[in-house]
């Protein structure tokens, strides 16, 4: 029962988001969630092909939604069960999962230009996408303890460990090739989570830690700017991939424990810089150039929600209420861009550089996650004093 106005506002928005997510599964017969909706790109169907990567990390969001909104539990169950089967069917012999949107068995589209040029590719291993699918499968395993899921996850762990080369470089990814960008921190964290769930393997821990160390080694000590956070390992990065990097470091630190403090510190210092920019301007830029030079021409809505989640993590760690306050601001800014059916745009304005003219499922996923955590945080702050 919502008691406060902010709780009612957040609950309404997250329920709308969840209903839109369910629709993104329903249009595919509950076998995966469409990457985005866009009447401009898909005038007839309105939806893209299902996207294994984001379907994977939407699964924990659906489980969290099921615990809160029992009236939607049946729909969430169908989405989860259908998608887990669909994901397991595409696991490759190496244990990896493929990158891109699935056209049919073994055939994928990697990016928008493949849609525009009607190009298709055979399945290619993707380290990053495998890790996001692992997020969903680990949560499913926690909920069901299904031994088949455990076996599949173990195979994926083997692939991911082997994909981390000397010096912590990640070399087997359909998108990034050999660039090994810093935002892969967000792919390393679930490997640690998986390792903790299946039983710790020293080699896994050592390789992942080496990869994370390589990421934080390449940063400016004065500005806390981490290099290569952008797609393709470039320094200019969307807030989406900046957030992947920092969320990954924070999550990894949590999974490692006391030894992970250096990753937490690196992320916290970077977030302090972002916090200041965001509060001085009362909004976040769509992207950052080297040493946090902001690019203001658009807002990356997804990145704002992800950074909001990281701000909440910082608030939980150091109880600095300014971060909780800034997270509230990010949420209402994202909320202002939400469509009545629950969708959120990739960029605002909608023609902004990131996911232009599209309403991606991961924007809604992070918005819903953010809403859940923010509502809980504010509620606990209010009730703490009562």
């Amino acid at each position: 029962m919502e008691q406060f106005a902010f709780e009612r506002e957040i609950a309404t928005a997250t329920q709308r988001g969840l209903r839109w997510l369910v629709e993104s599964f329903r249009v595919n017969g509950y076998e995966g969630s469409s990457a985005w909706s866009s009447r401009l790109l898909h005038p007839v169907h309105g939806w893209s092909l299902p996207y294994p990567e984001t379907t994977g990390y939407i699964i924990p969001t659906l489980y969290a939604g099921r615990a809160r909104y029992t009236q939607l539990a049946g729909e969430f169950r169908r989405c989860i069960d259908g998608s887990v089967k669909w994901l397991l069917a595409m696991q490759m012999p190496s244990g990896a999962f493929p990158g891109g949107h699935q056209v049919r068995d073994g055939v994928h589209r990697l990016a928008l230009k493949d849609y525009l040029l009607h190009r298709e590719h055979p399945a290619q291993e993707s380290f990053f996408n495998s890790a996001q699918i692992v997020r969903g499968l680990v949560e499913h395993y926690r909920q069901t303890r299904d031994p088949e899921i455990r076996t599949r996850l173990d195979r994926c762990r083997t692939y991911m460990t082997q994909a981390i080369g000397d010096g912590g470089r990640i070399l087997r990814d359909a998108y990034a090739g050999k660039s090994s960008p810093a935002y892969f921190a967000y792919a390393l964290a679930p490997v640690l989570d998986l390792d903790n769930e299946l039983g710790t393997d020293a080699e896994v821990r050592a390789r992942v830690t080496a990869a994370l160390d390589a990421i934080i080694a390449d940063r400016n000590g004065d500005t806390a700017f981490i290099r290569r956070m952008g797609f393709g390992g470039v320094d200019t990065a969307l807030t989406h991939t900046v957030a992947y990097t920092l969320q990954g470091l924070l999550e990894a630190a949590r999974h490692i424990g006391a030894e992970g403090k250096r990753f937490r510190d690196a992320a916290e210092k970077a977030l302090a810089r972002i916090f200041r920019i965001a509060e001085l301007h009362k909004k976040l830029p769509g992207a950052f150039g080297p040493d946090w030079s902001p690019i203001w021409s658009y807002v990356c809505v997804t990145g704002n929600c992800q950074l909001g989640l990281s701000f909440l993590e910082v608030w939980r760690m150091n109880t600095d209420s300014r971060y909780l306050n800034a997270a509230g601001r990010f949420f209402t800014q994202a909320l202002a861009t939400q469509r009545r059916d629950g969708a959120l745009p990739g960029s605002w304005p909608i023609w902004g550089r990131y996911m232009a003219l599209r309403w991606p499922n991961w924007a809604v996923k992070y918005f819903v996650d953010f809403g859940f955590e923010l509502g809980d945080a504010l509620g606990s702050e209010a009730r703490l004093a009562s």
């Binding site: 300014r322 923010l374 702050e381 004093a385």
Partner: protein, 267 residues
């Protein structure tokens, strides 16, 4: 040296007008008033960045409508009217008219850090300034005075620097206070002269406390002028290292705070 100058953000700033009226009533009028003309590109851009297009439009509308009401201001409120009544001061918020009536030189400037403003300050050799708005001050402006640029910060220093300090002090369980300090190049990091707690009554919410703190700030600035005219102000040794810089409190956290201080019943 020719006394002090008052700064204000626009020509109908109610609090600046109230201060000038009160200072004149005490026979300590300012030697000049620097008023930022809000209708310049720099100010509009700054306001747009801070408040967004909608809020800016509302402010422009309020300022425009105030022009047709000689005794109204764009930011007047009941607590300030009470403050004026208690001191038997007129409800006059037109700073230009007020200056004319008291023979105080009035300077309309594009922004306080501009060369033109610095020129005015150095030409007239103002000794110190009372800050009652006008935007962020740069070193060039601050160092143009031989004395301090006095400010009443609505919050306890050095703990709560920045915006919304009354709300933040309540949120963090500190005594809501007003700090008289000198502005330096940092954000609320200058010398501290005096701290007074904001008088509280049962049932006061954040808005009432804010308004009360503004009135208290006016009293403290008037007393500071008095002290400056009698010899000067003595800086206190700060009780701790500068605290964090705070920013305006978002509505969500404000609701939490209202609930905490018992202003809002649940349900």
């Amino acid at each position: 040296m020719s006394g002090y100058v008052v700064t204000c953000s626009h020509s109908r700033s109610a609090h600046a007008a109230a201060f000038i009226s009160a200072a004149c009533a005490r026979n300590q009028p300012p030697a000049g008033v620097l008023v930022v003309n809000p209708l310049n590109i720099h100010q509009l851009r700054e306001q747009m960045r801070r408040h967004g297009a909608r809020r800016l439009f509302e402010k422009v509308l309020a300022a425009a409508s105030a022009r047709f009401r000689p005794h109204a201001s764009s930011d007047d409120g009941q607590p300030l009217l009470r403050w004026l009544e208690e001191r038997q001061l007129p409800r006059e918020f037109d700073i230009r008219g007020l200056c004319k009536r008291h023979g105080i030189p009035y300077y309309s400037v594009p922004n306080l850090n501009s060369d033109r403003t610095i020129g005015v300050v150095t030409r007239h050799a103002f000794r110190y300034a009372v800050y009652l708005g006008g935007g962020i001050l740069r070193e060039q402006f601050i160092s143009a005075f031989s004395g301090p640029v006095l400010n009443a910060h609505q919050g306890p220093l050095p703990e709560i620097r920045g915006m919304g300090a009354i709300a933040w002090s309540l949120y963090l369980g500190l005594e809501p206070s007003v700090t008289l300090h000198g502005i330096d190049a940092g954000i609320d990091t200058g010398p501290i002269y005096e701290i007074r707690p904001v008088p509280r009554r049962p049932g006061m919410g954040i808005d009432e406390l804010n308004a009360e703190s503004v009135n208290l700030g006016l009293d403290m600035l008037l007393d500071a002028v008095d002290a400056m005219e009698k010899g000067g102000l003595q800086a206190k040794t700060p009780s701790g290292t500068p605290g964090s810089q705070y920013f305006s409190m978002h509505d969500y956290l404000r609701e939490v705070l209202e609930y905490r201080i018992g202003r809002r019943s649940s349900g």
